[in-house]
Symmetry: C2
Subunit: 422 residues, 2 copies
């Protein structure tokens, strides 16, 4: 069957989530947006709710709003946990940034483990992990009197079971932290198997779900995961700078102490003369005042995903990704592109990465052509057709435009990489 517009439209007509596409703002009908894994699109309901919250709640209720805003971090956390994380109530709190939450949970895990057994002082991660994770975990290990052990990851498949086995073998590992979906290759780890492997070695498992949440089904409770963090501005569509989340398994929470024990993590916010007594459950990992606007945006994003159902999202996502991979093979492979993500869709998250020596300049030129993906050094073009917002027609049109611009050599006039790129 040929790849053409009619074929793409036939596929779209069969998409069970096609009607949700109208729930997002489309300011530019010509724009092909394939970067929802970096910043998700704006749900119309979110724009309306934020406007209402600003005027009626901040403007109208003023300080009295805290009587209900105070419950947002755990309330939205519970709803996020139920819809997208497979987490029962009380274990998820929406707060701070992924970086801050990784710092807090990793530091608490290392302190807990090394207090029980001074021999357990090693933090394990991988050499291809996201920059924040590598930087923060190194700092946590140093601050906690521990040691960072960096596993070599495969550029496509990510961290292998064998590499992890070698890292865990000495029996000195306190906590392992890797990403469920790799931010470059999209490699999807086996949540339950890795968690079990880590726990069997006596270590705690701390997942970074940034690129996974909202893209793939996640079952934290079933897998017995210890700790997790992630962001909400990608596949959860909560907007730039929306608060991140963290998960702490219910029977573990009360044994962990946040290294940033701000008053919002205390048991009683207004018992102001008392010593610090941490709140029960994941809520103790809050520190300062909640980002109220951002929390409402997370709530709306979660609501949309709950309506779609994460299993349906995943099925639609795989359809779109497989189509994109096949189309890229057809249109782009002859121009020097190759797939740098796992071939098998079950082993990928919600995006794919194509390799091309000129990826950076092609990515910039594509934006000029109205196709927004993103590039990652040194030679990767990252593309995400997102189940809730992207059509097959978008993918067809987007890849066709990329082929055309490369054929026309439009990218050859783009200057070399600047320091800050999208």
């Amino acid at each position: 069957m040929p790849f053409d517009l009619a074929d793409a439209r036939r596929r779209d007509a069969e998409n069970p989530l096609r009607q949700l596409r109208d729930r997002f703002l489309r300011a530019d009908s010509e724009l092909i947006y394939l970067d929802g894994n970096s910043l998700g699109m704006l749900p119309v309901a979110t724009a309306e709710r934020l406007a209402q919250v600003v005027r009626n709640e901040w403007g109208g209720e003023l300080v009295r709003g805290w009587q209900h805003w105070a419950d947002l971090p755990t309330g939205v956390g519970d709803r996020l946990g139920a819809a997208l994380l497979g987490a029962a109530a009380g274990q998820v709190v929406v707060c701070d940034t992924t970086s801050a939450n990784l710092h807090k949970t990793a530091a608490a895990a290392l302190a807990y483990q090394s207090t029980r057994d001074p021999g357990r002082h090693v933090v394990v991660t991988d050499d291809r992990n996201f920059p924040t994770d590598r930087f923060v975990l190194a700092a946590v290990a140093a601050q906690g009197g521990g040691e960072l052990r960096v596993v070599e990851a495969d550029p496509v498949a990510g961290v292998t079971s064998l590499a992890l086995q070698t890292a865990l073998a000495p029996g000195d590992v306190a906590v392992v932290s890797i990403c469920l979906v790799d931010y470059r290759s999209a490699a999807l780890q086996d949540l339950a198997a890795v968690t079990r492997q880590v726990q069997d070695a006596g270590a705690l498992m701390l997942w970074d779900l940034a690129h996974a949440v909202g893209a793939v089904p996640i079952a934290l409770d079933v897998a017995g995961v210890d700790l997790a963090v992630g962001c909400t501005y990608k596949h959860v569509n909560a907007g730039p700078g929306a608060p991140a989340f963290l998960y702490v398994r219910h029977d573990l929470a009360d044994r962990l102490i946040s290294p940033v024990p701000g008053w919002w993590g205390a048991d009683d916010l207004f018992d102001m003369d008392a010593d610090y007594r941490p709140a029960v459950g994941a809520a103790r990992f809050q520190a300062g005042s909640p980002n109220v606007l951002g929390l409402y945006a997370v709530d709306e994003g979660v609501r949309l995903h709950a309506e779609a159902g994460i299993d349906t999202v995943r099925a639609v996502s795989i359809g779109l990704l497989d189509y994109l991979v096949a189309l890229a093979e057809d249109l782009l492979a002859p121009l020097g592109f190759s797939l740098a993500s796992p071939q098998e869709s079950a082993r990928r998250g919600g995006h794919v990465v194509l390799r091309h020596p000129d990826a950076y300049r092609i990515g910039v030129a594509a934006v000029e052509r109205g196709v927004v993906g993103d590039v990652r050094p040194p030679d990767l073009l990252r593309l995400a057709p997102v189940a809730l917002t992207t059509s097959y027609e978008d993918v067809f049109t987007g890849l066709t435009r990329i082929r055309d611009l490369v054929v026309a050599g439009e990218h050859t006039t783009v200057p070399a990489r600047r320091s800050r790129i999208t």
Copy 2:
């Protein structure tokens, strides 16, 4: 001269900032809002800008927005620093929460000091400091292998020079952190004198400006302050959960390392394979993705304050506070209220506190009467007539209503304190 409505209106007519009052949303014209030091009112321009940012920037620019959003934390920081902190560019960054920023700056200061001189391992604060500060500083001291030394503060005057001298005498202090304006008594410290006293003893000075910024003129550069943190949702009118800020003196910044070295504090965001190289200046204290919406709200709040001028704000604030104190003496002292703030206006920040054995129940009953202040355990009613948003008529009406409700005994039916109050 009698205190009456006509007198209050005469005073309002002479207020040089009276026209700025119309720049804030007033959803309920009967509401007397005396809690702008807890949550500042909503500027109309902020509501409009947030709506525009949500639809046009998030919705329209999508991920391309980061090309300019990325500059917000330092750009808004520079404008905040210029308008309200007496800080030249490059030293202020708007990010995270006050709790998180206090943790990062205090931990960095302790690490820096104790590396230069292992004998300098003590963190000093006071026993009446805000809960977050006491909790976080204790944790920082413990995590850094140091020790917390808690100075006894006077309930009204706050930390005295003598108490500080005693705490500094052993020569082992790494960093001192207290509030410029006390959250309960409103006691205003002498920024320059305390900074000098601390630095003369070889310690670094870390100010918490939460209740001071936007209420009193602050000259960080002139005073040679080392570090400062503060929030923006009080007198800066940036809304619930708006990001906080931190200040690091320019010649100190490059010697300090954030304990949460997330990728947003790195020198090059997208040099993704590199080791952590911190950004130049205060920007290195960023960690995760900026709270874009909150940053725009801070920017609008700062703009309003810049237009008013902090010296005018302070003059108007003192007029309102002196009036409130005199009126309270007249209307409320006979009912058992007493001033628990310094008598002299030059020694107070932007609010005052009245003591009454039934403060909690009176505060709750006052809300029912349309007068919103707040209460702090055990017996304090905190009231803030804010220069940009409160009129003399508001103060007159508010205190009259409080007198009337106490005379009528309306507070006696209010149940005892719940866990969470505003």
